[in-house]
């Protein structure tokens, strides 16, 4: 495989080069990590009702085994030299055309190793949780089929060694997301949300398609190895274009501005789906893509600026939306948007931020999955009510849920020593080091986060009880609480990965290193400032929701800002007015055009001939003398023609 000595690769001044060694030993099992869930999906989806009884356990089992395998692989990787931690497994050549070959290769390195653990780990936990959550759904077996399909696709995404391979997984997770959002197909809103998610993701796919095309045109290949080795030879314009196209792709998948609108609707899916796909894993694929493409982004300041801007806008947007939503899942979804905004922002900071983005991605995966599952547990206990105004005082009824959720809450708002503190704090710090405005955005975002999360906590667990009469909240079964506990533990402890700079060092060979810039106020000072801002957010939330009674119906006399936040900052309205409605008008017009003009020309020609015919045939009037006249005129014309030709 790689014949280039690492020393030579290291000569490149830019980003690290992907030059993986061929997989051997335990690494030759790499393909199994993907194949197992894929097999599970195939069996569950094609097996039909025969698999109804044990199907969910098959689903859990395949992911669990994948997780174990990932663990084994991870430790095997840890056991290698730090310069030798890239392993590649060639499965088969996918397609070849001319000099362009795309291989279905798996690339296992420090970055994908982390993702493997996250996906199979959190995925496994959520699978387990779903066994309980979906117990009464007659299509549970299919649900697990879809979940397995998702896991397999997501693993493909993070293991692929080629942009087209990434695309395969990229669309696979999109499909799984589509299927799962619309899992309850009989609900028109679910079906619509599913379609919306897929279509908006496709807009992002334009970026990935064109980006891959541009990468091919530039490098003659789309494999990470070739691109990373030659990236520094490409012109900066090209690199910026590639970067922006990839950013577009990331915006679609990660629900970043301006392609963010699908995520809140996606909450129509069953809650484990929201936890796994729309919080912990799939939506972070955009972050993965940017970090994975660090060899491009590191070389293009302009594209990175674009990334940072998108991240800033989205982190604030998501946070603001989260402040106004009464639907617990939507509030969390807004939060997800916002947190991914942080990751994107971090990724846009270049080598200084790649590792932090991934770190935050991990911790977010833990605490957000935790909270979504917690929300699911709440809903489970309240007859699937999602309106927080119908909650209140649930902490007594659902103690485990409350405690685990609270850990997640502490993690997300960044209270030390919970996971979110470590990751978010570093991002804010690095952002300030990069640019004051960006840093300020991140800091304000942290404050808003504290506000809306506190609001959520208060409305759900603390304040007075506002349940519907027929609701009798109860704690969820153990199959659901154990995953909660596991995730809560991760949310509490996940931050320690940063201790001693482990995560940054681990990822450094993939994403490169940088010289840390120190802030004027120092890292500790920054942390203090952040904590103050967070405290302010909590205090405001307490003022509004802790001290006052929460009305059961959302107040309608609210400020413009609240209204805007409730309307998700008019993202949908904008799409509706600017794209959808004119689009349909245009299509209707086009249909008329097609029928009357395009087809009309063809049919019109036909009827013109017909009309000509019925008109001309009147000349055949039956009178022999007219015919004689025709003959005579014909003769005259013949003679004239001959003369004309002769004397011209």
């Amino acid at each position: 495989m790689s014949l280039v000595p690492s020393s030579l690769a290291a000569l490149h001044s830019g980003a690290p080069v992907v030059h993986a060694a061929s997989a051997d030993g335990v690494f030759s099992l790499l393909w199994l990590v993907v194949a197992l869930p894929a097999l599970g999906a195939a069996v569950l989806l094609l097996g039909g009702r025969r698999t109804d009884r044990w199907g969910h356990w098959l689903g859990v089992g395949t992911v669990a085994v994948s997780f174990l395998l990932s663990l084994v692989l991870f430790f095997a990787l840890v056991g290698r030299d730090s310069g030798d931690r890239q392993v590649s497994q060639h499965l088969w050549t996918w397609f070849t055309a001319g000099k362009y070959t795309v291989n279905l290769d798996l690339l296992y390195d420090q970055l994908s190793a982390v993702f493997l653990l996250l996906i199979t780990g959190v995925g496994g936990i959520i699978h387990l949780y779903s066994v309980g959550y979906m117990e009464h759904d007659e299509r549970r077996r299919r649900f697990f089929g879809y979940l397995n399909l998702f896991v397999a696709s997501m693993l493909t995404l993070v293991l692929a060694a080629d942009y087209v391979g990434v695309f395969l997984g990229w669309e696979g997770v999109g499909l799984a997301s589509y299927l799962l959002i619309g899992f309850w197909q009989y609900k028109p809103s679910a079906a619509a949300a599913a379609k919306k998610a897929f279509v908006i993701n496709r807009v992002g796919d334009i970026g990935l398609s064109l980006g891959s095309a541009l990468i091919f045109v530039t490098f003659g290949s789309t494999s990470f190895a070739v691109v990373s080795a030659n990236a520094d030879k490409a012109s900066s314009g090209t690199l910026t274009a590639i970067g922006l196209l990839l950013l577009l792709a990331a915006c679609g998948k990660s629900a970043q501005f301006p392609l963010q609108t699908w995520l809140l609707d996606a909450m129509e899916g069953p809650t484990p789906v929201s936890a796994l796909i729309h919080a912990a894993t799939m939506v972070t694929a955009g972050v993965y893509l940017i970090v994975r493409s660090n060899f491009i982004f590191s070389l293009t300041e302009d594209a990175r600026t674009g990334v940072v801007i998108v991240g800033c806008i989205t982190l604030l947007m998501g946070a603001i939306i989260g402040c106004a939503k009464d639907d617990i899942k939507k509030a969390l979804a807004g939060s997800t948007m916002s947190q991914i905004g942080y990751m994107i922002l971090a990724a846009g900071l270049g080598p200084a931020g790649y590792a932090l983005a991934i770190f935050h991605l991990l911790t977010h995966g833990f605490f957000k999955a935790n909270m979504f599952l917690g929300a699911g547990s709440v809903m489970h206990g309240t007859n699937d009510d999602v309106n927080m105004r119908h909650y209140g005082a649930l902490q007594k009824a659902m103690p485990v849920t409350f405690v685990t959720f609270a850990i997640g809450y502490l993690a997300i708002i960044g209270v030390p020593p919970f996971a979110g503190f470590w990751s978010k704090d570093r991002i804010i710090e690095t952002a300030f080091a990069d640019n004051f405005v960006v840093g300020l955005c991140a800091l304000v975002g942290a404050g808003i986060t504290a506000f809306y999360m506190t609001r959520l906590m208060l409305m759900t667990f603390v304040t007075e009880q506002r349940w519907e009469p027929d609701v009798h909240p109860h704690e969820s079964p153990r199959v659901m609480t154990i995953p909660l506990i596991a995730l809560a533990a991760l949310s509490a402890l996940g931050g320690f990965l940063i201790l001693n700079g482990w995560i940054t060092d681990w990822l450094a060979p993939v994403v490169g290193t940088h010289e840390e810039k120190s802030l004027a106020i120092g890292a500790l000072g920054m942390s203090l400032v952040t904590l103050v801002v967070v405290a302010i957010g909590i205090a405001i939330a307490w003022t509004f929701f802790g001290r006052r009674a929460v009305p059961r119906e959302a107040p309608t006399q609210v400020s413009v800002f609240t209204r805007a936040a409730r309307a998700e900052l008019y993202g949908d309205a904008f799409n509706e007015e600017v794209i959808v409605k004119p689009g349909y008008t245009g299509i209707r017009g086009l249909s008329v055009f097609d029928g009357s003009f395009v087809d009309g020309i063809a049919e019109g020609t036909a009827s013109a001939f017909g009309g000509m015919s019925s008109w001309f045939r009147l000349a055949q009037n039956g009178f022999v003398r007219s015919y004689a006249l025709a003959v005579l005129s014909g003769a005259a014309l013949v003679l004239l023609a001959l003369l004309a030709v002769n004397f011209s």
């Binding site: 790689s2 014949l3 280039v4 030059h19 996918w94 397609f95 070849t96 055309a97 001319g98 000099k99 362009y100 070959t101 291989n103 279905l104 290769d105 087209v164 695309f167 395969l168 990229w170 669309e171 696979g172 499909l175 589509y178 619309g182 197909q185 009989y186 609900k187 028109p188 079906a191 599913a194 379609k195 897929f198 279509v199 496709r202 807009v203 796919d205 334009i206 398609s209 064109l210 095309a213 541009l214 091919f216 045109v217 490098f219 003659g220 290949s221 494999s223 070739v226 030659n230 030879k233 490409a234 299509i587 086009l590 249909s591 097609d594 395009v598 087809d599 020309i601 063809a602 036909a606």
Partner: protein
Amino acid sequence: MSNFPWLSVLIAVPIVGAVVVQALPRRANAAAPKQIAFGVSLLTLVLGLVMASGYENDGGMQFTEQHTWIKSFGAHYAVGVDGIGLTLVLLTLILTPVVLLASWNDADPIPLDVRDVAAESPHVAPARWSPNAFFAWMLAMEGLAVGVFAATDVFLFYVFFEATLIPIYFLVGGYGGAGRARAAVKFLLYSLAGGLIMLASVIGLYVVSAKSSGGATYLVSELSKIDFGTDTGRWLFVGFFIAFAIKAPMFPVHTWLPDTTENATPGTSVLLVSVLDKIGTFGMIRFCLELFPEASRWATPVVVTLAVVSVIYGALMAIGSDNIPRLIGYTSVSHFGFIVLGIFVMNSQGLSGANLYMFNHGLSTAALFLVTGFLISRRGSALISDFGGVEKVAPVLAGVFLVSGLASLSLPGLSPFVSEFLVIVGAFSHSVVAAAFAVTGIVLAAIYILLMYQRTMTGPTRPEIVGMRDLGTREIAAVAPVLLLIVIFGFFPKPLLSVINPSVDHTMSQVDRHDPAPTVAEQSPEGAHQ
């Protein structure tokens, strides 16, 4: 066996089968004609696979036969296939038994499925003739289609090209919806008009070749050596191209297709769209590009523009359609836009992608037509608005529908993706603008497919749908092989590409185009993974 006339056999077996089937006694609901027709198509498929197993991937014409046919015209009975032809021949052979099986009851006087709704439904009309004729025409079409793809003599190609119109004409006009007669005539006239325009160019070829040193000939191998001169070459090119554009069909000469698919039976639509329309794009490669390289290059800007317009236009029209077969017809306009785009960007990626697309589009569209056909026959309506919540009562049907639809929107992992991706990459190498516009097709495709799925399959189950049967064994047996191939070739298109690529190289050398080198000229050795 090397001299065995494989292709002639593949042409003759179905046609003889057609005659036999037509000659069988006509009894209502008799199974014999259907069984025999199905058997013949399977036999042909087996023969075709045996032939294909002997194909060598060197890009040249193989299984060639050549006999002088009309000496004064320079016409030969000359057949042979290269990779491009072989894949399309195989596509024909694969789809015919599928279609026959799927159409088992479509030609019955009134299909069993819809006996109760046929009376008032505008989408189902009683068949005009016996099932014998239906199955016989289908087989005849198979044979003729193989002939078209195998012909290596322009005259012979033209003859097959026109001959295929007749079976379709009777299939559309005799079996299908209420507007079938009109649709059949429209189809035929469009095709004939195109064919006649092409005839002028075909004759032009003769005139030029007669003046050349070798004397009059229609053999592609000979013609490709002739330099037609700029003006003549361009005129002849235009004649061929118009015919193929109508056939393909491209904007703005596409309007016959939705009308036809709206009224034809699903089986007919499959053979028409999946197989016969490929003649258009096949012809563009084989004749436009390979015979008139200069003119092709000259026409590229216009053709690429039209192709991109087709991509977007077809997709938009599909979004706006409420009639399912009509919608699928428009999607094909869009897909053919991609294929033509791939052909005329004239690089390896585009051409390989286009060739592969022809095969894959055949599969995906076949699946989509067949499964929607099952759906429509159950409800007696083809209007999207008459459906809703089918998934609940017929999950297998819905699943098949979804997979077919996803294939149609080129989801990675399903076979059309590779082809579409290659076309986009090829287009990008040629013109960033063209690629940028064409790529919007992938969004629009998602909209038309998923919107259709959403409206028909999801939501609350409509009262008329309750009690709808799920797919039966025969129906599953018909579509399963297609879906299986879609998945297999989605991950492993190598068998097809290894056949196609050498032929693409040949085409490239014929048009004298070379792939642009990567902007970053120096490649690391890691570029080649083999």
